[in-house]
């Protein structure tokens, strides 16, 4: 079990990062010009509300003490109140997690479903016409802006052929999945171009590897060589690639949720930016950063579990 010892030690390495993240989010809001209490509460705040927030965040104290107040509040799960929604930031964030999580999960699943067969097709025809076409299409696909792709998919699959709803989020699970179809297709198409490139070259490497040659020498048919030896080995680094791209993926959900009016964290963030709801911006930035760190940690565990040779 010593392979898994890093599960205990790795979180210690995350501490400085999380600490840094808290400083950055703290500083971001304090850098906004003007009286911080007014910044946090908006122009129409009552004097009592201003006094309350000054006391809670120690806004009359020196900056380093304010940071300690900030950390203390954070430890109690208090990230202030949203000006727009008049509720605490943490519960607000919690109610918006589900659509974002569902969007990320379905996009990842869908992109793997798209990328793996195409990468296999390209790798097995390495240098051929099929390979060439797939490579050109991926190079082209990398440049698709997600906000534009969303609209084109709406035009095609919601307006011209009314298969899916245009926007919003459903009530029951089937309705939700229908509403998630186009947003996740948008993100998945972008993500699969990234996956396809790396999967293709990994598959080509493994097709040439000693493992594959040995299998062929034992008389295994090419398809078995591919399914049993090439594919599992080539897929392993994909977990890591997904984790590395998680930040980018979350950025994508921000844009796509805004286009499709999906009530997730991304849409909440964009709305908070326009209503100058700084507590919410701070909370979401913090939540997203922690999620990215956590996902990278989980990806490390998955990598070790998937490949016995990996030591972290």
């Amino acid at each position: 079990m010593h392979r898994y010892r890093f599960i205990l030690t790795r979180p210690l390495q995350f501490l400085p990062v999380i600490f840094g993240v808290s400083i950055v989010t703290f500083v971001l809001v304090r850098l906004i010009p003007g009286d911080p209490a007014r910044v946090l509460l908006g122009a129409r705040a009552t004097p009592t509300a201003l006094a309350n927030v000054r006391a809670q965040f120690g806004l009359d104290e020196p900056l380093w003490l304010q940071y300690l107040y900030f950390l203390r509040n954070l430890a109690h799960g208090e990230m202030g109140k949203s000006i727009t929604y008049k509720i605490d930031v943490l519960p607000l964030i919690l109610t918006r997690i589900e659509p974002t999580l569902a969007l990320v999960a379905s996009s990842v699943l869908l992109s793997v479903t798209i990328a793996v067969p195409l990468a296999a097709l390209a790798a097995r025809n390495n240098g051929g016409i099929v390979d060439h076409v797939i490579r050109t299409v991926t190079t082209f696909g990398i440049g698709f802006p997600q906000f534009w792709l969303s609209l084109m998919l709406i035009l095609l699959l919601a307006v011209a052929i009314p298969l899916f709803p245009v926007s919003g989020y459903g009530g029951d699970i089937v309705d939700k999945l229908m509403h998630l179809a186009l947003p996740s297709l948008t993100v998945a198409l972008s993500l699969s171009t990234v996956l396809l490139r790396s999967l293709r070259s990994a598959m080509i490497d493994w097709l040439k590897s000693d493992v594959a040659t040995a299998a062929r020498a034992r008389g295994m048919p090419e398809s078995i060589v591919f399914w049993r030896h090439v594919l599992p080995n080539a897929l392993a680094p994909t977990i890591n690639l997904l984790a590395v791209n998680m930040g980018w993926l979350i950025g994508g959900t921000v844009v796509v949720e805004s286009v499709f009016a999906l009530p997730g964290l991304g849409q909440l963030l964009v709305r908070a930016i326009f209503s100058r709801d700084y507590m919410v911006i701070q909370g979401i930035a913090m939540a997203f950063a922690c999620a990215t760190v956590l996902i990278n940690f989980l990806a490390d565990i998955a990598t070790v579990a998937a490949d016995p040779r990996v030591r972290l």
């Binding site: 400085p16 990062v17 999380i18 840094g20 993240v21 950055v24 989010t25 971001l28 850098l31 906004i32 190079t139 082209f140 990398i142 440049g143 698709f144 802006p145 997600q146 906000f147 534009w148 792709l149 609209l151 084109m152 709406i154 035009l155 307006v159 998680m246 930040g247 980018w248 993926l249 979350i250 950025g251 994508g252 921000v254 844009v255 805004s258 286009v259 963030l269 964009v270 930016i273 326009f274 100058r276 700084y278 911006i281 979401i284 930035a285 997203f288 950063a289 990215t292 760190v293």
Partner: protein, 274 residues
């Protein structure tokens, strides 16, 4: 990276990407000359016209000529992709080479800082910085410089770590050259190939982010023609007038394709693999 391999392959793979980028550059320079209409001129009598001979890309809800707007937007978007890459490239190169060369406490601090920046989703950090600086293109460039340098710093640092143990680095040290001379004259020129190749895929990322931020309403402001802004403005009319959204989007895709093609070809020519 060796001269023999680039001599063998030749510079021909660079051609398709260079042609596309040169075409966009030409359009950007000549936009006022070749655009048939003023990009912000409104014509109430020609609202939402489909593509025709008079307006080959059609007109938008204000009667503005889409073709002229797409051409003028090319200036903004190309500038965005270039400036958005140059500053992070320069900052990242300097920081990364200093960290890799001197190691120790500098390296430790730089690496921790990179970890912190990378912990934030790219677009979320960009948007948070733009909130403080206020919306607009200048804020976008500043935010890009503050966030984008980390990738270059990591690439250069890794290269310098390898290169500083090479024989020629030792030879330069034993000749008594100053540390700065060794770092910037001897090591850095050999370390930048990977960053140059990466800068092309970074240009795609910057272009897409700039357009997305403008689409969200925090970057380039209307009525200035910019491809992301154009898509945002046309969104309400997407079902009746597909042409307003189609052409700006295609322009982004094509410009990004040019950068990607050039990046792939540069990797091939220089023998660098991402």
């Amino acid at each position: 990276m060796t001269t023999s391999s680039s001599a063998r392959i030749g510079l021909r793979p660079l051609a398709p990407g260079l042609v596309i980028l040169a075409a966009f550059l030409l359009v950007a320079i000549l936009a006022p000359v070749i655009a048939p209409y003023d990009p912000v001129l409104q014509d109430p009598l020609a609202r939402l016209q489909p593509p025709s001979l008079a307006h080959i890309f059609g007109t938008d809800n204000f009667g503005r000529d889409i073709f002229s707007r797409v051409l003028h937007a090319c200036r903004v978007d190309l500038q965005m992709a270039i400036i958005g890459v140059v500053f992070p490239f320069l900052i990242g190169t300097v920081v990364g080479s200093l960290a890799g060369f001197f190691g120790g406490i500098i390296d430790l601090c730089v690496m921790r800082l990179i970890d912190i920046v990378l912990a934030f989703p790219f677009l979320v950090l960009m948007l948070s910085i733009i909130v403080i600086l206020g919306q607009g293109l200048t804020s976008f460039y500043v935010a890009m410089a503050l966030v984008g340098w980390v990738s270059y710093a990591r690439l250069i640092r890794a290269q310098i770590l390898v290169l500083k143990t090479t024989d020629y680095a030792m030879a330069a040290t034993s000749l008594g050259f100053s540390k700065m001379r060794i770092l910037f004259k001897h090591l850095l020129p050999n370390a930048v190939a990977g960053s140059l190749v990466f800068s092309m895929s970074d240009a795609v990322l910057v272009l897409l982010s700039g357009a997305a931020i403008s689409y969200l309403g925090l970057g380039v402001q209307p009525p200035t023609a910019e491809w992301g802004v154009m898509v945002a403005e046309a969104q309400g009319f997407v079902t009746q007038a597909w042409w307003i959204t189609l052409f700006p989007g295609l322009s982004i895709v094509l410009l990004a394709f040019g950068f990607s093609l050039l990046g792939d070809a540069m990797g091939e020519v220089m023998g660098v693999h991402e």
